[in-house]
């Protein structure tokens, strides 16, 4: 696993735009399938007939103005909307074949398969080690060697190992903002999910920390399917393979990123990405 090099950010920025042109050789079956997904908070109809497919081991970005339903859609994939009272969802969501909303589906199982990274980094008030292995502990795994191995693997994958390997027993809350967010990513991948959802993971970070996370996303998509919600159009352009624009709970356009940003088919999309949009 590559460690962070000072010039690596540049490499991503030059690498990403060219990706749309060169066809990828990796297999890409649909990992997340939405079929006319609707969601309502009480009377408030927040998502309308969203139908889209997200490919495995690719990064899909959800963009759109505040309140358009990006985060709500994201939270449908691991059923985090369950925590809110009065939510109704209809339509079909399949995550790697599993019907997420079916009555027979175990929500715990869904969340084990679908990891999540939040807007505000939210490490537990525990040691770095305990933060990373939290998912394993609640799954009942307590063998020291297994936990240590998983901790190191996840922290290396989250490009945090070299910074924290000597202070694993210190509080996770003593890290910097960017480190905390990477700790949350490490925590999410420690249980080896198939999909990682990221809800504006960089919005509270400075540009350097943002760069590191973006670089990390680029590396993680080797093994994971990533859906990222972002307000930052440049970020969407830099990290994602496909981008979806949502507007007032509707899917406006969903296309390969390069295509969406250079040749938008929809007038709304063009207005939004050029900033002519309220």
């Amino acid at each position: 696993m590559k460690t962070t090099a000072p010039d690596s950010g540049l490499r991503i920025r030059t690498a990403v735009p060219s990706k749309g042109d060169s066809p990828d050789v990796r297999p890409s079956e649909a990992e997340i399938v939405c079929k006319s997904v609707n969601l309502a908070y009480g009377e408030n109809h927040a998502l309308h007939d969203i139908s889209m497919e997200m490919e495995a081991r690719r990064v899909t970005a959800l963009i759109g103005p505040s309140g358009c339903g990006k985060s709500t859609l994201l939270r449908c994939f691991n059923r985090m909307n369950d925590l809110i009272d009065n939510v109704r969802i209809w339509g079909e969501i399949r995550v790697s074949g599993l019907d997420v909303n079916a009555a027979t589906t175990d929500v715990i199982e869904v969340r084990r398969r679908v990891g999540m990274v939040f807007q505000k980094s939210n490490p537990f008030p525990k040691s770095i080690f305990e933060n990373v292995v939290y998912g394993l502990r609640i799954a009942g795994i307590n063998e020291k060697t297994v936990l240590q191995e998983a901790c190191e693997r996840s922290l290396r994958a989250a490009a945090l190992w070299d910074e924290v390997k000597d202070r694993l027993d210190e509080s996770g809350l003593g890290l910097s903002g960017g480190q905390m967010q990477r700790l949350c990513i490490a925590r999410a991948i420690a249980v080896e999910p198939e999909i990682i959802l990221m809800d504006e993971p960089c919005s509270a970070l400075d540009p350097i920390a943002t760069l590191k996370i973006e670089e990390l996303i680029y590396e993680l998509k080797e093994n994971y399917t990533i859906v990222i919600v972002t307000h930052n159009l440049q970020q969407a352009a830099r990290v994602s393979d496909r981008t979806a624009l949502l507007w007032l709970g509707r899917l406006v356009e969903y296309a390969p990123t390069a295509e969406l940003f250079t040749a938008p088919k929809d007038k709304l999309t063009e207005d939004y990405i050029t900033g002519r949009f309220g």
Binding site: N78, M80, L83, I108, E109, R111, R112, G115, M116, F118, K120, S121, N122, P123, F124, P125, K126, Y134, G135, R137, I138, A139, S171, L173, S176, G177, M180, C184, R187, A188, V191
Partner: protein
């Protein structure tokens, strides 16, 4: 500047608020100062003043206080003064304290050689040792020889008392405990036979009888030993003569401390002070609590607070968890919350009555009928005891813990719960592993408040298990070591008892202050301990600050 502008600027508010705070601080520090000065002063060995009055009578004692004589409507109102002498020698005079008008005094002196003697009964003795007898033999015939021998005798008396107490309490106590157990075992057999008349317990009865006989033999042996010890120790007697010439013979065994009050250097006084203070902390009370120490009360107070904490934390936290995490927020939960808050305002005596009715009579009586039937009609749990007092106080303080815990739970960030749930944790796992640890400091704050309230509460205890004098601590060396059914002593009740139920008010007054000092000290110590634990947890589970 116009008055209007000044008022608008609010300078006067600074003065108002500042004075309010100042008054509060003044009262608190004034109270503390009064308690500390009065409470810690009594151990200081004061000089003994000998006064001769106009009619020729002679008195000697420590000067307890001096005050102006009120004589309303007359010219000398509050002009003359009188002094209060702590003369001791209650057995000879019939009083401990007496007032002497300064105008009556013809001579005041501080004679050397006069001793202040603390003894086992009748309060202190003030006099000069003149003779020491050992059996029929005189081992010191004059004041000088008696003075030389006295300190050795006092030291020996202390070790003799210790030896006697060891036999009385530990060894004879153990035998008594065994005999009582055998008696109960025999009764249990009677009960079983009553239920099943066909059974024959002859063998068991014979065995019990045999064991009882051997215990009785042990008892006789110990008693003989005790009598021997008492005889040898009690043979030494010291005769004191008071300033008015009366003689008093004391067994050396009864002398706790004796010092020549007018000949001590400052260091010797300080030494006596420390030793008296230590004795006060570690000894048991004597003479209807007006003499001796407060150790059983300190022990009882601390143990009761610990038991209460053990009961109140789980109960309060579980209730708060349900209210905050599981219950559907609505009118019902709001009503419950208001009710809980109001429960904190119910007068404590009401909880006392409830504790007496529910814990002592209902639960305790039930336990007695089920498990201690052989001891009835003597109640075991069906009477006041430290367990019932602690549970009553737990009930009294549980609203504080619920409210504090609820607030602490509500303060755990939603993002932290979401992180845990998104990891695939169940709600139960999230609460156990994330929410509760993060809320622990807040919960401890609730416990601190509860402890502060419980340690100072007296009224409910009087109904549920506190006594004036408990012969045994609730913890001892006999199985099962913790005797939660026992009655106990408590500093708060001790203050009330010594101050207001004592036959000897003047002697008891300083004890009230001193006991108050230690009650406050213990509350402060308990709180500081809990605060330390909370700060440690806060540091450990400190939430993100960036």
């Amino acid at each position: 500047m116009s008055l209007r502008k000044r008022l608008a600027r609010g300078d006067h508010m600074i003065w108002f608020t500042g004075s309010a705070l100042g008054i509060c601080l003044l009262m608190i520090f004034g109270l503390l100062a009064i308690i500390l000065v009065n409470g810690l002063g009594i151990f200081w060995p004061h000089a003994i003043e000998q006064v001769t009055t106009g009619d020729g009578s002679v008195l000697a004692g420590e000067i307890a206080q001096r005050q102006a004589i009120p004589n309303p409507g007359h010219a000398d109102h509050l002009l003359n003064h009188r002094i209060q002498l702590r003369t001791g020698n209650r057995d000879l005079y019939g009083f401990d304290f007496t007032w002497v008008n300064e105008s009556d005094i013809v001579k005041r002196e501080r004679p050397a050689g006069i001793f202040f003697v603390e003894r086992s009964e009748y309060g202190p003795l003030v006099g000069t040792p003149v003779r020491i007898m050992e059996g029929e033999r005189e081992i010191a015939s004059d004041s000088k020889a008696a003075r030389e021998k006295l300190p050795g005798l006092v030291t020996k008396a202390a070790s003799d008392r210790e030896a006697i107490e060891a036999i009385e309490k530990d060894e004879i106590g153990e035998v008594n405990y065994e005999i009582e157990r055998l008696r109960l075992e025999a009764r249990r057999l009677d009960f079983r036979q009553g239920r099943e008349p066909g059974l024959d317990f002859a063998a068991e009865r014979a065995e019990i009888q045999g064991r009882e006989q051997s215990e009785q033999a042990r008892y006789a042996e110990l008693e003989a030993k005790l009598v021997g010890l008492l005889e040898s120790a009690a043979g030494t007697r010291v005769t004191f003569v008071t300033v008015d010439g009366q003689e008093k013979e004391l067994r050396s065994l009864d002398i706790y401390r004796a010092y020549p009050a007018n000949e001590l250097s400052v260091f010797e006084r300080a030494g006596t002070y420390v030793s008296r203070l230590w004795g006060f902390l570690t000894d048991e009370p004597r003479e209807a609590n007006t003499e001796g120490g407060i150790w059983p009360a300190i022990f009882g107070t601390v143990m009761m607070v610990f038991l209460m904490s053990l009961a109140v934390v789980p109960l309060g936290v579980l209730a708060a968890l349900y209210l905050r995490e599981y219950a559907k927020q609505g009118v019902l939960v709001r009503t419950v919350r208001v009710a809980v808050n109001n429960l904190a305002g119910v007068p404590s005596i009401v909880f006392g009555v409830f504790g007496l009715g529910f814990f002592v009579y209902f639960v305790g009586g039930g336990i007695d009928r089920l498990f201690f039937a052989e001891a009835l009609p003597t109640p075991t749990y069906g009477t006041g005891g430290i367990l019932w007092a602690s549970l009553t106080l737990a009930l009294l303080t549980v609203p504080v813990v619920i409210v504090a815990s609820e607030e602490a739970l509500a303060a755990v960030p939603r993002s932290m719960r979401e992180a845990s749930l998104a990891m695939g944790a169940t709600k139960f796992q999230t609460i156990l592993r994330v929410v509760l640890p993060a809320a622990a400091p807040g919960i401890l704050t609730g416990l601190i408040l509860a402890m502060a309230r419980a340690a100072g509460e007296v009224a409910p205890l009087m109904l549920t298990g506190v006594v004036k004098l408990a012969p045994e601590l609730p913890v001892d060396s006999f199985f099962p070591f913790f005797h939660l059914d026992r009655k106990f002593m408590h500093l708060g009740f001790h203050i009330y008892d010594v101050g207001f139920q004592s036959p000897n008010v003047e002697a008891a007054k300083p004890m009230v202050y001193t006991t108050t000092v230690f009650l406050l000290l213990i509350i402060v110590l308990l709180n500081l301990t809990a605060i330390q634990v909370r700060n440690y947890l806060r540091e450990k589970y400190r939430t993100a600050a960036f």
